[in-house]
């Protein structure tokens, strides 16, 4: 034991052993951190409801366009104004969308804030504009587009 204590050769080998050990531990920690970072970024991509938001906005734009043609056709058959028919169709649209999205735990509210359809149906029709307020909430992500301005043509 006394011999071992007095033997001071090989200090550098022991030191390099320590250095190697510390570098290995540091590398292991770094690799682990990278894995955790990757996990969280992938998880965030999966959780963010970009497809739902895209579906609501694109469907609302598409439906507003179709509703214009339908409101004009109804105006010629039921003698009600285009705007009145449009309101009735939009009311059905917003109710059904709210129920469909509530079916998977998401809240969608749509409201028609303003519309300019006066030139629709006239000979000098240049199209119209509707202003729709869209909100989406799934408990973690809240999205609002107030208003979504939609150009419509019959």
């Amino acid at each position: 034991m006394a011999g071992l204590r007095e033997n001071t050769s090989g200090q550098l080998i022991i030191l390099s052993g320590f250095v190697l050990c510390i570098s290995l531990v540091t590398l292991a920690v770094l690799v682990n951190q990278a894995m955790i970072t990757g996990f969280h970024s992938s998880n965030a991509v999966l959780e963010f409801p970009k497809q739902q938001i895209r579906d609501i906005t694109s469907q609302t734009r598409e439906s507003c366009q179709s509703m214009t043609g339908l409101a004009l056709a109804l105006n010629q058959s039921n003698n009600q104004g285009i705007e009145s028919n449009y309101h009735s169709l939009f009311s059905q649209y917003k109710q059904q969308m709210a129920i469909l999205y509530a079916g998977h735990g998401e809240e969608v509210t749509l409201s028609l804030s303003k519309m300019n359809l006066t030139s629709i149906g006239t000979n000098a029709s240049t199209g119209g504009t509707v202003w729709v307020n869209i909100t989406y909430n799934n408990g973690m992500t809240y999205y609002a587009s107030e208003p979504e301005i939609i150009e419509v043509e019959p």
């Binding site: 996990f39 059904q96 129920i99 469909l100």
Partner: protein
Amino acid sequence: MDDKAQLQTLEGLGAALLITMTVVIITQSATVITPQHEMMLDVQLEQMAYDILTLLDVAPSYVMGANLTECVAGWDMNQAAIKHNSLPYLDRELSVLLPGFLYNVDMSYVRNGSLVTKNAILNGYPTEDAVVARRTVMLTNSTVTKAKGAWSIASDELQMVEVRLTVWQV
């Protein structure tokens, strides 16, 4: 010239070579699936499912035959069973776009204020890593009449239908 500790130097080189070889062999021979790899696969599959629904819906009729809205408008509204689906046209299009995958298609719609969900294409029961893509389509009296579907929609009504595509790999 100091020629001491030659053997230790060689030993050090040998150890370094051994460690490097071991790490290379392990990383080359084994495919390590970490949780984020699995999630990335889910993200890619989900994106693909959404892209397929979008493509089917926005493609003009002369490209695809009938797009998603036309397929849904022509639905006979019968509940599907395994090997007996009620949307054969959509099934054919999906089987071309999703080779090597299994999928189900459900339809959700609102009838008298309540949500109704029916299977339209049923190929089995999804596994735990299945992904779901949804797309909403709008039906009117004219689209249904044109596609000869079984929907009952008055001329002043519209019907929103959610097409739910569940995709998984076996």
